[in-house]
């Protein structure tokens, strides 16, 4: 333990954690620095935990969206994309081939998915089809249904 006139928290610290004797800045500076360091450390720890939590939730949602696509279409394909239609907003979108083949090489079925995860699945609220070998551009969407049609997400209808 550190002995000395400072007392308080600094005085109760084990010797190996106490301010070095030759540190001329004094115990008050040392204490302020230590508090600042602890606060920064806590902030970084909270940020990391927040990131982990976000990552776990996102993963759970992506897996649920992939399962929902497979369940809804009755196709047990491995390559099912899942993500946000607009970043930070719902609904999410999940697409995959309508028949076996390399990813994106067949006509695509895209589903708009929303709501909480219930028994590993979420609710399909709409969708559309896309021609093979094209990205999900509004002009390419066809056979829209649900919110795909009501929210005018498919210019072709």
């Amino acid at each position: 333990m550190v002995s000395g006139p400072a007392g308080g928290i600094v005085g109760r610290l084990p010797a190996w954690l106490a301010p070095p004797e030759h540190d001329s800045a004094g115990r008050r500076t040392w204490r302020v620095e230590t508090v600042a360091l602890v606060l920064v450390g806590l902030l970084l720890a909270v940020a990391a935990i927040n990131d982990i939590s976000w990552s776990v939730n996102s993963s759970a949602q992506l897996v649920a969206d992939q399962s929902t696509w497979r369940h809804y279409t009755g196709r047990d394909y491995y390559n099912v994309s899942a993500g946000a239609l607009v970043v930070g907003r719902s609904p999410d979108i999940s697409c995959a081939n309508s028949s076996p083949g390399p990813p994106g090489e067949r006509t695509q079925i895209c589903l708009l998915i929303d709501g909480p995860i219930v028994h590993g699945l979420r609710t399909v609220v709409g969708g559309w089809r896309l021609p093979a070998r094209t990205g999900d551009f509004p002009a390419k969407r066809y056979s829209c249904f649900g919110e795909g049609a009501t929210k005018a997400l498919c210019p072709k209808g």
Partner: protein, 448 residues
């Protein structure tokens, strides 16, 4: 108390101490085995082939193939966690009881880990292949400070260079590129071995100099090399990826060793500053240490030593690579604008509800870093240990950079173990622990 009972009490206490010593030694041995087994498992599994954790690479270490299973995150992350916990336990044992880990055991353990990783495949990053490509560029008349590896016609190592860097000119100092030139004179496999060997030698030099500095400053050198040489991020990431940070750190510790001797002559202070400049000519980040050394010494010698080394380095760099080769700030600026998901800056941005790091955040972080460095310089001027202040400077860079790589967190470690301010060691290990825990997120939920 009678004489007989006093003797009996003394004997009882020695017996308890002996048993306790045996237990701690046995526990230390067990933790050492866990660390070696963990690192061995990762290396053997990595030798099986390319996975997200193991970059695609030529089969230069084929003798190891067939012993493990493909290295996925479900093996890597728990192994990293267990190894890290064992590492923490070993530090506590070695700190609390100096006899728990003998000098011979510590050196043998550190050497074993280094050799296991050296014998295995390149782990967790493709930088080594990019550096071999830069060496080939330098040898074949293509300036690596102007062109990325893509400018090298018919280069057989293209498949192993990350597409992210194929067009990037070298961000490193000219001294590093010159050191790597032998790798450009030989075939791809031999070039890889040369850079792996350079990393191993640099690591050994870093550890030897850390040992020396710890003794110079009156610390337990065994504990010092345990903290640095067994550190999972040091072993698996820095040495596993053969990163040039190890060369930078060897020069850093050479500079410190020359500067902290009790009989610190002007020549030694100048040589110490020159070594730090040489380190900055490998990777410019190390330049942050120089002001602390100069402010601390308050004499002309380190300034002269730094200027002479800088002038020599710039002349050689200019002769070899032209003006682009001596623009040390260009590489830092380019990397400074990149954002890695590993970085604390990204995590803080997410915490505050932002999708990522924006240009204004870069400016805020740079401003914060400048404030911290100025404060540390003021503290050093008032008598704070310049080695510790340099360590804090490196911690601040690692925390504030938006392009954090795991091996950046090892920079302050050798300085922390020779610092009387133990907060530096705690802070360095804490940011490493936070980083490791953050990496383990795939273990806590389903993976798409």
């Amino acid at each position: 108390m009678s004489t007989a009972s006093a003797i009996a009490e003394r004997e009882r206490r020695s017996l308890v101490a002996l048993r306790s010593g045996r237990w701690t030694s046995a526990l230390a041995a067990l933790l050492s085995v866990v660390i070696v087994a963990g690192v061995g498992e990762i290396v053997l599994d990595a030798a099986v082939g390319h996975t997200p954790m193991v970059p695609a690479q030529p089969a230069f270490d084929s003798w190891l193939a067939g012993f493990g299973q493909s290295l996925g995150y479900t093996v890597f992350l728990p192994t990293l966690l267990v190894t890290s916990v064992a590492y923490g336990g070993l530090i506590l044992l070695a700190r609390g009881r100096s006899t728990a880990v003998s000098k011979r055991w510590a050196i043998g353990l550190v050497a074993t880990l280094q050799l296991i990783v050296f014998a295995g495949p390149v782990l967790l990053a493709t930088d080594l292949f990019t550096n071999v490509a830069y060496a080939h560029e330098a040898v074949h008349g293509v300036n690596p400070y102007v062109h990325g590896p893509l400018a090298l016609p018919g280069y057989p190592g293209f498949p192993y260079v990350s597409p992210d860097w194929i067009n990037w000119a070298s961000p490193y100092g000219p001294l590093f590129t010159l050191i790597t030139i032998p790798a450009g004179l030989v075939g791809l496999d031999a070039g890889i071995w040369i850079l792996k060997l350079e990393a191993l030698v640099a690591s050994a030099a870093t550890l030897a100099l850390t040992w020396r500095c710890a003794r110079q400053r009156g610390f337990d050198p065994v504990l010092a090399i345990i903290v640095v040489g067994l550190n999972p991020l040091y072993v698996l990431y820095a040495l596993g990826g053969s990163h040039n940070d190890l060369i930078m750190m060897a020069l850093m510790m050479l500079g410190v060793s020359l500067s902290i001797t009790t009989a610190s002559s002007a020549r030694r202070a100048a040589s110490g500053a020159a070594a730090i400049v040489a380190g900055a000519l490998v990777k410019a980040t190390l330049g942050v240490m120089l002001p602390f050394l100069i402010v601390s010494k308050r004499r002309l010698a380190p300034i002269v030593g730094a200027l002479v080394a800088l002038a020599a380095g710039l002349v050689i760099g200019y002769a070899a690579f032209g003006s682009a080769g001596i623009n040390l700030v260009a590489g830092l600026n380019r990397e400074g604008h990149l954002v890695s998901s590993y970085s604390f800056a990204s995590q803080l941005a997410h915490l505050f509800g932002k999708a990522g790091v924006y240009p204004i955040d870069h400016k805020l972080l740079t401003g914060g870093l400048v404030v911290v460095i100025v404060y540390l310089l003021w503290r050093t001027w008032r008598g704070y240990d310049w080695v510790t202040a340099s360590g804090w400077g490196l911690v601040a860079i690692a925390v504030s950079t938006t392009w954090l790589m795991p091996w950046y967190t090892i920079w302050p470690l050798p300085l922390a173990v020779i610092s009387r301010d133990r907060r530096l060691l705690l802070a360095t290990l804490a940011i490493q622990a936070i980083w490791i825990v953050h990496q383990t997120s795939p273990l806590y939920g389903p993976v798409p």
